[in-house]
């Protein structure tokens, strides 16, 4: 119960436009209901509520651009109760949202509580803080009501990091910002550029590859699908998502986020799947808790998610929750892909095209369907040994597809 705020769907997101509300004051809402639609750098996204309640007020107007963390609507009734809860919660929350990186992983958790992140800061200040890795909560604002401006962030960064580091960071940030401001309408491109630049700048990647004999997996799918109607068939990507999720239960070190210089292993396994859009760019919706779901459940969700990615109706939760990402080139693509990790995640699994190849089976050369599986790992969080173990587990999964 409380305020519904503009969710953060990625560390680079500073604001989004409210396209329309699907509710009006007085409407009852249930957890998971879609209450509106926002236009973000990731396309049109449906926003969901995370608790049951009644809409008491819609503060944001349709067409309005709203900064991340700002109140969009008030849900529930008891004002006094809410205010009291808020006061209690604020200090704890501020500690939690140390960095934008952390903020993005806790979207859902954050929205359950009264919001928090109420410090006033200009969008530019927020962006500069992100680029310079400054915790906005620690910056003193010089504007009216303590509003934080760009110069406050810079002053704080100079003071805490020393002149030299500060200059270097400013320079690097300038590249990203210049690209960002030059092409305002291509916001998805910008957001990818910013995330990938950050990844390349901060994450020391290591790369591993293994070739997986897909004979057993493909036979298994054929066996399953033979008896099924078209709309119930399991396609290879579905099996791969499930196999990755299962392998992660055995090598959990790769599932989670690197924030505040520490690895945070996540309990939920939410598999992001990069979907490239034909008009350019890509979105990465996630299959939540994929390790707990059956192939059929994943199939239903995945097929639906792809259609919605094309139309622009992904849900905020789907787009902000991935704990690891898969990129798959499909059947017409290149043979293998070495990916760039999507920060603050620590690993990216790349699948190439499944194609027939001569390989050695029981001492003889045979032609088998072979899949290249790669892992890009964050060397700050894990070592090649862990990555290698993961690929081994993944291979095991696909050699025994009946257990997947």
């Amino acid at each position: 119960m409380g305020d519904f705020v503009m969710p953060s769907l990625g560390s680079q997101m500073i604001e989004a436009k409210l396209v329309q509300w699907h509710v009006k004051p007085g409407d009852k809402v249930k957890k998971g209901d879609i209450i509106g639609e926002i236009d973000t750098e990731k396309g049109l996204i449906d926003i969901e509520v995370f608790e049951d309640g009644t809409i008491t007020e819609l503060r944001a107007k349709e067409g309005e651009t709203i900064p991340v963390g700002s109140v969009m609507a008030i849900i529930g009734g008891d004002k006094e109760h809410k205010a009291a809860a808020q006061q209690k919660e604020v200090p704890a929350e501020e500690k939690k949202i140390k960095k934008n990186g952390k903020q993005e992983v806790t979207v859902s958790a954050r929205e359950k509580r009264p919001p928090v992140h109420r410090m006033k800061a200009s969008p530019l200040a927020r962006r500069v803080a992100e680029d310079l890795h400054v915790d906005l909560g620690k910056v003193k604002g010089s504007g009216p009501e303590g509003t934080i401006h760009k110069k406050d962030v810079e002053a704080y960064a100079r003071e805490t990091k020393g002149e030299e580091t500060f200059k270097k960071e400013i320079e690097m940030a300038a590249h990203v910002s210049a690209a960002t401001e030059a092409k305002a309408p291509k916001s998805m491109r910008q957001s990818i550029a910013a995330a990938m630049s950050r990844s390349n700048r901060e994450i020391p990647h290591y790369y591993l590859e293994t070739e997986i004999d897909m004979t057993a997996a493909m036979d298994r799918l054929e066996e399953i699908n033979r008896k099924r109607a078209v709309n119930e068939r399991i396609l290879p990507p579905v099996l791969l998502i499930k196999a990755v999720a299962n392998a992660l239960t055995e090598v959990p070190e790769l599932n989670g986020f690197w924030t505040d210089e520490v690895m945070h292993v996540e309990e939920g396994i939410h598999i992001g799947f990069a979907i490239s859009l034909r008009q350019g760019g890509l979105v990465i919706p996630a299959v939540l808790n994929a390790d707990m779901k059956s192939l059929d459940e994943i199939r239903t969700e995945f097929v639906d998610m792809i259609m919605r990615a094309r139309e622009g109706h992904l849900k905020s939760r789907e787009i902000s929750s991935a704990t690891i990402t898969i990129t798959s080139l499909g059947e017409r693509g290149a043979e293998k892909v070495f990916g760039v990790i999507y920060p603050p995640q620590v690993a990216l699994v790349g699948f190439g095209r499944i194609s027939p190849k001569p390989i050695v089976v029981d001492g003889l050369i045979g032609i088998r369907p072979v899949l290249s599986a790669t892992l890009a790992g964050d060397h700050r969080a894990t070592d090649g040994h862990t990555g290698s173990r993961f690929l081994e587990k993944l291979n095991e999964q696909l050699q025994h597809p009946e257990k997947v």
Binding site: E222, N225, R226, A229, V230, N231, R233, L235, P236, P237, R278, Q279, F302, V303, I306, M307, R310, E311, G330, E331, R332
Partner: protein, 83 residues
């Protein structure tokens, strides 16, 4: 009975899956994958749509062959009994 207009049904489902594609320029024998940049999941979604609308089973082994407007249309014409 009336001839079913397979072509417009196929195009309808192509449009649903690939709303940004220019279907006017698509020639009957063009490969849908390369012309419209349709991947296997998109293709699968098209097959699901068509099979549900026309109540026809499209075996998975056929997918490889059904890569053009003409191929899909011919398949449907042969798979669905004409009265």
């Amino acid at each position: 009975m009336n001839q079913i207009d397979y072509l417009s049904i196929i195009k309808k489902h192509l449009h649903r899956v690939a709303p940004e594609a220019d279907l006017e320029k698509l020639r009957p024998a063009d490969d849908l994958g390369t012309q419209l940049d349709i991947d296997s999941m998109d293709f699968y979604n098209i097959m699901v749509g068509i099979s549900e609308e026309l109540h026809v089973d499209i075996p998975e082994e056929q997918y490889d062959k059904l890569r053009s407007l003409k191929a899909i249309k011919d398949f449907l014409a042969s798979a669905i009994p004409q009265n």
